[in-house]
Amino acid sequence: MAEQEITLMKGNEAIAHAAIRCGTDGYFGYPITPQSEIIETLAVLKPWETTGMVVLQAESEIASINMIYGGAGAGKRVLTSSSSPGVALMQEGITYMAGAELPGVFINVMRGGPGLGTIQPSQSDYFQATRGGGNGDYNVIVLAPNSVQEMADFVDLAFELAFKYRNPAMILSDGVIGQMMEKIVLPPMKPRRTEEEIMKECPWAAMGKRGGRNPNIITSLELQSEVMEVRNIHLQEKYKQIRENEVRYETRECEDADYIIVSFGSAARIGEKAIELAREQGIKVGLFRPITLWPFPSKEILDLAKGKKGILVSEINAGQMVQDVRLAINGALPVEHFGRLGGIVPDPEEIVEALKEKLIK
C-alpha cells in the first residue's frame, strides 16, 4: 500500500489538491475572499502539466458557472468555487444545471452578508443552498464539511453523487474551514477518465455525436406545459431517491444526553467543545451534525430526539437550519436557536449559556 501523505494545509488548499487527485477535468473560477487560495493553489500546482486538468480564471462568477455548465454538459468533471456574493451570481447557472440534469460541483466558502457584507466566516447562505436559490422547483445536493480533511474528501464525494444522480452538488463551507490549517491525509491519486470512459459513463453528454448516434441535446427548455410537468415530476422523483439514499450525519455523545445541539460545519466544531464544557458542568449534552444539508437528516434527528428534553440549534446565522430541525421534530420537543451574526464566530461558552438560558432555565 502506498504511504499515506500527511500534510498541514488550509481548507482551501486541501480542496485544490483534492480536485487534482480525484480526476477533475476542469476548474473555472473567479477570486473572492475567503476562498481565493483554491484557484491560487491550482495555479501554483499547474495540474495541466501533470493530469491535464484545465484551470481557468473566468471574467465573473456568471461566466465560471456557465463554463462548468458547458463542461458538465460535455461529460467532464468540472468544478468551480466562490464565496457568498459570488454564489449569488451563480444561481442562474445552477438552476440551468439542475434543469438540464448536469453533474457539476461548486463550492461556497461562506462569508457574512447580505450584500457585499464582510469577509469573515458565516453560515448565512444555508437557505440559499438548501432551498434551490435560483428559479424553479429544484434541489442541489449540499455537503457541509467541518474540517480540512472533509474539505478534501468531499470533492470526490460531491463528484460521485453529482454523476450518480446527474445533479449539481455543492460543498457548503465557510471562512473558518477555508482558512484554518489542519493535518490531513490527501486522497489517493485517481486518473482522469478517458474519452471512452466518459462516453460510457455519460451517454447523454454533448461531446460530438461520435459513432453516428442520435444527437445529445443539453437543455432545460420545454415550452409545452404538459411535457414540462412530466420533466418536473421526474426531477421530484429523483430528489426523493436522493433523500432516501444519501442522508449523511454524525452524532457525538448522544446516547445518554438530555439535550442535543444540532450544528453543521464550523459551528459543529465549536459545538464539540460546547458539549464538553456542558458535561463538565453536569449537563448531559450530545451533538448531532448533519453532513448533508440537503437531503436533510430529518428522520434521523427525530429518531434521536426521542426521550430528550430539548434541542439547541447553533448556527452562525440568524436561524436558518433551525427551521428544518423544527420541521423534523414537529413540535415533539422544544427547539431553540442560537447564532452570532455578521461574521462573528460564537464561543463554546456562549453556546452553553444559551442552552441553559433557552432550554434549562
Binding site: G26, A72, A74, I218
Partner: protein, 255 residues
C-alpha cells in the same frame, strides 16, 4: 416530362445532409433559417458532424438544436461564449461554435462575449444582428438603429434616452484574441455564398487553434420590424448596411 429533368446531373441544390426533417418555427423570410442551412452544409463538408458541439442561445434561435443533426448545449441568455469556453477547453479537438442574436450577445452577454473573444478561445461566434429582440416581441436591442421604432422605443431610438447602437463586431476586431472578424448578410445568393465562405473560414480557424472568430450576419426580422419579407430586405439594405458595414474587419488567419 417534369420527371425527366429530376436526375442527379441536373441537381443544383438540395437540403443539407445535417438539416433535420422538421418544420422550422422561424417566420417566413427570417434570416435564421438561411444561416442554419449554411452551418449545416459547412459542418458536413468539413466532415465534423461527429465532432461538433453547437451552443444555442436564448432568443428566436433557442430551438436551433431541433434543426441541425449535431450535439447541442443550450446556454442561459447571453452566456453562450462561457458555455462554449467550458466545452472547447475540455474537448480541444472538437468544433465548438455559438449561435447568438444581438440581444443575447451584445446586451446581457456582453461580458461573456468580449472576454471569450479576448482570451482567444478557439471557438466561432455566429452573431445574428437583426437590430431587435425577435423572440420577446420586438423590443429595442443594443444594435437598434437611431430613430428605429420598437416596442420599448415606440417613438424611435433616441440616443439621449437610449444610448447609441453598439458595434460589437468593430469592438471585437480590436481584441488581440480574435483572428477573424467579419460582417456578412444573407439577403442575396451572392451574399449567401460569401457568408458561407466566412463561416467556413471561421470554423477552420477555430480548429487550427488560431484564436476566436466572430461572424456577424446582418439579418432581417420581418415580424419584429413589421414589414413583409421583401420590404424587410429593402429596409435592411437601406438602413442597416450603412451603419453595419459589410466585409472582413480583421483577418490574421494567414499570418
Amino acid at each position: 416530362m417534369a420527371n425527366d429533368i429530376i436526375s442527379p446531373e441536373n441537381l443544383v441544390y438540395q437540403k443539407p445532409k445535417l438539416m433535420n426533417d422538421t418544420t422550422m418555427h422561424y417566420c417566413p423570410g427570417c434570416s435564421h433559417g438561411v444561416v442554419h442551412k449554411l452551418v449545416a452544409e459547412i459542418i458536413a463538408e468539413m466532415g465534423m458532424e461527429e465532432k461538433t458541439v453547437g451552443v444555442c442561445p436564448v432568443g428566436c434561435s433557442v430551438f436551433a438544436y431541433r434543426y441541425l443533426d449535431i450535439d447541442w448545449e443550450e446556454a442561459p441568455h447571453g452566456r453562450a461564449p462561457a458555455v462554449a469556453t467550458g466545452i472547447k477547453r475540455l474537448w480541444q479537438d472538437r468544433l465548438v461554435f455559438t449561435y447568438q442574436g444581438d440581444g443575447d450577445l451584445a446586451c446581457i452577454g456582453t461580458a461573456e462575449t468580449i472576454h471569450a473573444l479576448n482570451r482567444g478561445e478557439n471557438i466561432t461566434i455566429i452573431f445574428i444582428n437583426n437590430a431587435i429582440y425577435g423572440m420577446t416581441g420586438g423590443q429595442m436591442a443594443p444594435t437598434t438603429l437611431i430613430g428605429q421604432k420598437t416596442a420599448t422605443c415606440p417613438y424611435g431610438r433616441d440616443p439621449e434616452i437610449h444610448g447609441y447602437p453598439l458595434n460589437i463586431t468593430e469592438l471585437a476586431s480590436h481584441l488581440q484574441g480574435t483572428c477573424y472578424v467579419t460582417r456578412q448578410s444573407v439577403d442575396t445568393v451572392a451574399s449567401i455564398n460569401k457568408a458561407k465562405k466566412a463561416i467556413r473560414k471561421a470554423f477552420e480557424s477555430s480548429m487550427q487553434g488560431k484564436g476566436s472568430s466572430l461572424v456577424e450576419i446582418v439579418a432581417t426580422c420581418n415580424s419584429g420590424w413589421k414589414l413583409t419579407p421583401p420590404k424587410a430586405n429593402e429596409w435592411m439594405r437601406e438602413n442597416m448596411f450603412p451603419e453595419y458595414l459589410k466585409g472582413d474587419l480583421k483577418d490574421t488567419t494567414n499570418l
